[in-house]
Amino acid sequence: MAPNEALKAQIIREFEAERRVTLLRLRLQQALVLVGFSALIAACFHVSGFFGGSQGSDPWGRIANLLDIMIPDLKAGVIFEDRATKGSLASWFYDMPTWLSLLWETVQIAIVATLFGIFGGFWASLLASKNLSPSPIIHWLTRRTLEVIRTLPDLIVALILVAAFGVGPLPGVIAIALGTMASLGKLYSEANEAADMRPVEAVRAVGGSWWAQVRFGVLPQVLPHYASYGLLRLEINVGAAAALGVVGAGGIGIELSRAITYTEFDTYFALLILIIGLIILIDLVSEAVRHRLIGLESPA
């Protein structure tokens, strides 16, 4: 019995030793990753001057101060008085007609840019999906081009375009449309690649052209996806269009930057409320439309 027991004990000991080594290696790896990660974060915090005082002293006091100057002093007694009365709602939102028309311009920019983006994204997706692309080279080139466009933020593009097209909504539309095209081009090509190829083959077998194969084989399958992706993108684009004016590319953003330059922080707050309201509105409309689309989908 004794030698057997000894053997058992040795096996257990060896196992324990091995376990300890593996565990140690794992722990070491984890520690290394943790240290590296913390070092990265610390370095980044340092470079951003987070604790280095770039924010000045007393950040909390500054936030409190900011909130204080942003909130208008409305007076309960005169709240529904006209614009001239200090402390009324109307004097807070003192330039409502201009703002509403700028909001409408923002929506227009978003809609037109989304439409063109959908259109461009559709064509790009045909070239960029493996199963439809006329040639592998075109497929590869289109993919890479879309990728490069996606790396460029729309505001940077808008900045360059404003220099070319002048101040106004047009450069904003082009910038957002480009970004929309690039991201929808990718999403649409994924939808195309997931499409059932059997109907496409049937159209080919009938003698239909490439156009006919796309029109009757692919499109009927992917159109609902296209529509819901497009609507989701519209919601994003309304937000993006609201910021464009800061670089002179049209929409409500121009008032945002004007309010900052004239240090009208309560106006900034008012504009923020309007933008949020607009976004909620677009959200609701788009959601209703999407639900209707899905409703049309479900078997009648």
Binding site: L40, I41, A43, C44, F45, H46, V47, S48, F50, S54, Q55, G56, P59, I63, N65, L66, E105, Q108, I109, I111, V112, L115, E147, V148, T151, L152, P153, L155, I156, L159, I160, L161, A163, A164, F165, G168, L170, G172, V173, E235, V238, G239, A240, A242, A243, V246, V247, G250, G253, L256, S257, I260, F265, Y268, L272, I275, I276, I279, I280, D283
Partner: protein
Amino acid sequence: MTRVASLTVPPLIAAQEMEAARQIAPHLIDTPFAVQLRRFVLWVGLSALFIALCIGVDMTPAAFARGLTKLADFMRGMFPPNAAGGEVRILQALAATFAMAVTGTFLGVLGALPLGLLGAKTFVANPVLHFLIRRSFDVFRAIPALVWALILIVAFGLGPFGGVIALALTDIPRLGKLYAEAIENSDPRPQEGIRATGGQRRAAIRFGLLPEVLPVMASQSLYMLESNFRNAAILGIVGAGGIGFELEERIRIFAFDQVAWIVIAYVLCVMALDYVSEKIRSKLVHG
């Protein structure tokens, strides 16, 4: 019977065949005038609406042509790209932008963790509260970082601090929503198993929920980092420094060869980050 290529002529259908088809389904052969009119009006109306929208945003061929000639000039000015001795400065600015993105994302993650839990149906069961929390995520999600940055930079002065806070504020609702969804979509069985063996709720979260959602949440946070690198570049325009500032400065003086250099360096950096992040993400998700 030799007509391999004889289908060029449309097949004429005999008059009595046409009649027979009319008998079977008249509405499918002759479109009633009213329907044709309705279609026509619909098309004309939609086209008019579209054109009106285009004109509303100056999208006219004339304006387009004018801008395009200028843009072509710019493009010509971009070649060959040239840093004009500012390579080190530009790379430093890129690093600063990256640092801003990382810091902003980190703070965003910290802020989004509790909010993500609150937004998950599994934690806040009250439907009204759940609806309100998730809706507010949706609303704040759509506010661009630039809108936050404008005001925060006024509060904190020029420099990256305001930008970092703006990025964090943009991230919190986006990540909060993603986290909440990840938590809701997690498999409830491991947690139920732990509860069933007598574990506390805390234990269920630690050993049932976390192992499942942490990789997903980490991958979403990395995704947010990618998006923040782009956003951080924008914030330079309004005074947060970094690459956006360098870029704007050179656009203002029409130094497009330097703009091209910066844009190329920036695009390469973004692609590199996307590549690395994609690698890490696939490792996280697939173990």
